[in-house]
Symmetry: C3
Subunit: 158 residues, 3 copies
């Protein structure tokens, strides 16, 4: 049982880029939209398919403690992003953009999740905070992995 669980540990890393596989000079491949999850459309590691690239959400199937981290390219406007757990923004990252000064913003979190819990990134606030950028030479990423699955002892304790 322990071995099976190890194999099934949820892991994923995802990268978003513009739709076009060809880099176009002067075209912005913005991916951020307000009021819905940021979709990371390039999946690097998603063997268990716990990240749904249609909804943009990670869905927990193995209860336990997870680590998530994201790294965003800030351009061409400010970025304010929330890490959501089940419709609640539990962490917020804000970075202001200035002309000719592309920036990087990042965040990490350790969370205990139950089966069915969902985690995703979303622009927090209105459109002027949607400066999360990606194209062929600029990545914005969202990664996560299971640290420790719940044990019988964990369940008893809680």
């Amino acid at each position: 049982a322990a071995k099976a669980q190890r194999v099934k540990r949820a892991i994923q890393v995802n990268r978003e880029r513009g739709e076009s596989p060809v880099r176009k000079h002067g075209s912005h491949h913005l991916v951020s939209t307000t009021n819905k999850p940021i979709r990371f459309n390039k999946l690097f590691f998603n063997e268990q398919r716990h990240y749904d690239d249609t909804s943009g959400k990670f869905r927990c199937s193995i209860p336990g403690v997870y680590f998530f981290t994201y790294h965003l390219t800030v351009y061409p406007k400010d970025a304010r992003v929330g890490l959501y757990k089940n419709d609640k923004a539990v962490m917020l990252t804000y970075d202001q953009f200035q002309e000719n000064n592309v920036d990087q913003a990042s965040g990490s979190i350790v969370l205990r999740l139950e089966a069915g819990d969902e985690v995703w990134l979303q622009v927090y606030g209105d459109e002027k905070h949607g400066g999360i950028y990606a194209d062929n030479t600029n990545d914005s990423t969202f990664s996560g992995f299971l640290l420790y699955p719940n044990t019988p002892a964990t369940s008893q304790r809680r």
Copy 2:
């Protein structure tokens, strides 16, 4: 024994925000002070209570290899932060602030710790480097978790 150790693995993520739960326009909730640890007053995951939110220090109880990471909102001045292990700054992160250009600064480290070792973040240098900011919509975080507990073989090797 293995199961017990797994359950006791030290994990924590902590978030600092201003004291006020209400966001006040124009009021700065600075949390950084020189010469003492930055206190992260919002505890997200600290089940084993290995992070002491009074002292601001993580204290190792399970010897092994740990991963720590932090993500700081840089505002309204420069930020220079040291990750300390037992009174020694083992890593330094520096980010300059410019008007209307809030930034994000982050760092990560893998460290082997013995029982009793302490790890924390602290402004490095004088007050002008204390621009670590947090309020209701801007987080600054410190996270960490045990990667691999020491084994008898580890102890022998060392």
Copy 3:
């Protein structure tokens, strides 16, 4: 066998600084060079010696799923860095530098590696993107660790 594998888990964190242990005012300890891996010359945790500080490359000896993360000080010019896996840049991080505004850029990735696979950081593009800086009070780091070693089941699945 399980215990032995645990002990041998590849872990490393590395920090680059200038050659001089003494901080020199006005001298830049640039470490980035185009067309070859960035060498992290200060090894924090490299017990298994899976990071080769001569080549600048991490070499996988235990097949499995790995996590890597890097945090770079951007100065005194723009920085565009690729995380390479076997001569292919699988992730790119870009941050522009502006006068008096040192920045931080970071990235993370989850990757499945086979024995012999190599992972490293390298400036992507020409010299004007080589603004990765380190000196006695400014770190730039590269860390990584094994999340889950392959299991017989993993091998069968693939």
